[in-house]
Symmetry: C2
Subunit: 320 residues, 2 copies
């Protein structure tokens, strides 16, 4: 079976032809031209699809489905991008526009929703049916699967765990509220927390690491903490505490089998995951009376977006 | 159709025979004898069932089902009360014990889960399919319905919105964490907040109202606020702010049609509901790009528990 997966991001649109086993046989990408007022994202997506078909020699009618993962508020039932801050789009009937260029079965969804399906089909949650994925990146995205089926909330308007307040009255969030999970647990938040700690700790290793790297990023505090730097360890512990807070909230509401941590930071591996898993084991509601919730790192890295979009097609087809 | 609904509480076990339209034709209750070490809750529930059958003249085989709403952690699939702090029970195979006395179809669930079904079938959410109920009482309970079906999390281990942290590092909660929603939005929390404000405002009307009433309770601040008392208004506004925080978190994750406020405090009516609805309209994620979430007061008061347990039977039967 040939599936096309399209991963729309703020920087680029990546596409791939995938098998039902998650093997990417062909891939192609273009830059996202997001600053042009008359920009048509569907024209660029169509360009990627066209290139993939040409390079593979596969005909449109032999494509089982085209999955698209898009950031922002997406109306999956009607194939419309309702709002994307990241690419400055509003009410774009993406699937209708694409159908005019290539007559195929399209499946559009939020990128975090695609990501959880990708991990469930091809990654760290194979075989599981109740899974939540939390992506720690510029913001905090979440994808929720209940009994094998994507849960999006009514009219795709839910599953925004990044926009649940964990510190009432806390940091200002882009969404208008204060103290949202993403203002404490995103990589952007970690970078702010790192910079603040560096100001107060001029001798910390974090300075040298940041200098060598040319900037403070999500790895700075982790790298210094692993070398035993006290100030960095404090940053990392505090940051992980915030990440835990949201994960345990999710566990108490959804009680999935697995919560997956996605985003670049998941590469910190056991240093991050073991601490989160410990908090989860000890702090979830009902203690041993309730089933355990595992914490795992995402397994799909560079191709997570393409494979997630392909998984969306497979998941939806299996539910029809 | 005759259904028996049983409402197990810390003070009493209430039972009723109900029609499928939510009319209670017979009712009976006994006190909960929770301090006896050898106490059998199933013996008392059986007593209520027996009395109901006798007073109505209905035979066991003519009862379509017996629904039981129980506080605490309940394994609904196996009919077991896993843990109830309120009545000091652990691992009681309630349905198996009751089946030995009366051979009927039993349905056991958490009381907040029953409550949301009751409101959906007979109360303020008639006709809706995506509904969350938040009960503000000693704690904060929650019942979640997705597409007409009760959502309990894996092995009934979820749907505990009262145990999601909204103030990281905040008030100590019974569950072991700090800052849970119920430590700010329960009636117990409101009473603490009221008492604290009264200490700092010796001239507040709250003192007179509490004296007349013999105690500070969940109505004290609301009553004084309605009379224009500034200190009380501050208590009420701050309290409603915390309630809102959790409701909007729920909206951003579940995006239901309606969130229902249950518990005695819901009788404060528009004074409470209008403010919550306003916060909901302005602060949910995605603004007008996402569907609206209504906030309503519960409609079933004294009989909410019995009708909720009866609704559990009807809901489960309709899904089979």
């Amino acid at each position: 079976m040939n599936i096309i997966g399209i991963d729309v991001g703020g920087m680029s649109i990546k596409g791939g032809i995938c098998t039902e086993n998650g093997k990417i046989t062909h891939s192609f990408s273009v830059k996202t031209n997001k600053y042009d007022e008359n920009y048509s994202i569907s024209a660029d997506i169509a360009k990627v699809i066209g290139e993939l078909l040409q390079m593979s020699g596969i005909k449109t009618e032999d494509i089982a489905g085209i999955g698209i993962g898009h950031p922002g508020v997406v109306d999956s039932a009607n194939g419309v991008v309702k709002y994307s801050n990241n690419i400055a789009l509003e009410n774009v009937p993406l699937v209708a526009e694409l159908k005019m260029r290539y007559d195929a079965e399209y499946y559009l969804n939020n990128d975090a929703n695609c990501a959880v399906l990708g991990e469930m089909l091809f990654g760290s949650a194979k075989g599981a049916k109740d899974v939540v994925l939390i992506t720690l990146g510029t913001g905090v995205g979440s994808g929720i699967v209940i009994d094998g089926k994507l849960f999006e909330g009514r009219e795709s308007g839910g599953a925004e765990a990044g926009h649940t307040v964990i510190v009432s009255g806390g940091n200002q969030c882009n969404c208008g509220r204060r103290g949202c999970y993403e203002t404490y647990a995103s990589v952007s938040a970690l970078i702010r927390q790192t910079k603040k700690a560096m100001e107060n700790a001029p001798d910390s290793l974090m300075h040298r690491i940041a200098d060598e790297n040319g900037q403070v990023d999500g790895k700075t505090a982790f790298a210094a903490a692993k070398l035993g730097d006290a100030a960095a360890l404090q940053v990392v512990n505090s940051y992980i505490g915030y990440v835990s807070e949201g994960l345990i909230n999710i566990a108490n509401v959804f009680r999935p089998e697995i919560i997956i941590i996605g985003g670049g930071i998941s590469r910190e591996g056991d240093f991050l995951i073991d601490k989160l898993a410990g908090d989860m084991a000890w702090q979830t509601f009902g203690g041993s009376h309730n089933p355990r919730v595992e914490v795992r790192a995402a397994q799909l890295f560079n191709n997570a977006g393409i494979l997630g979009a392909a998984a969306l097609v497979l998941n939806k087809k299996s539910k029809n």
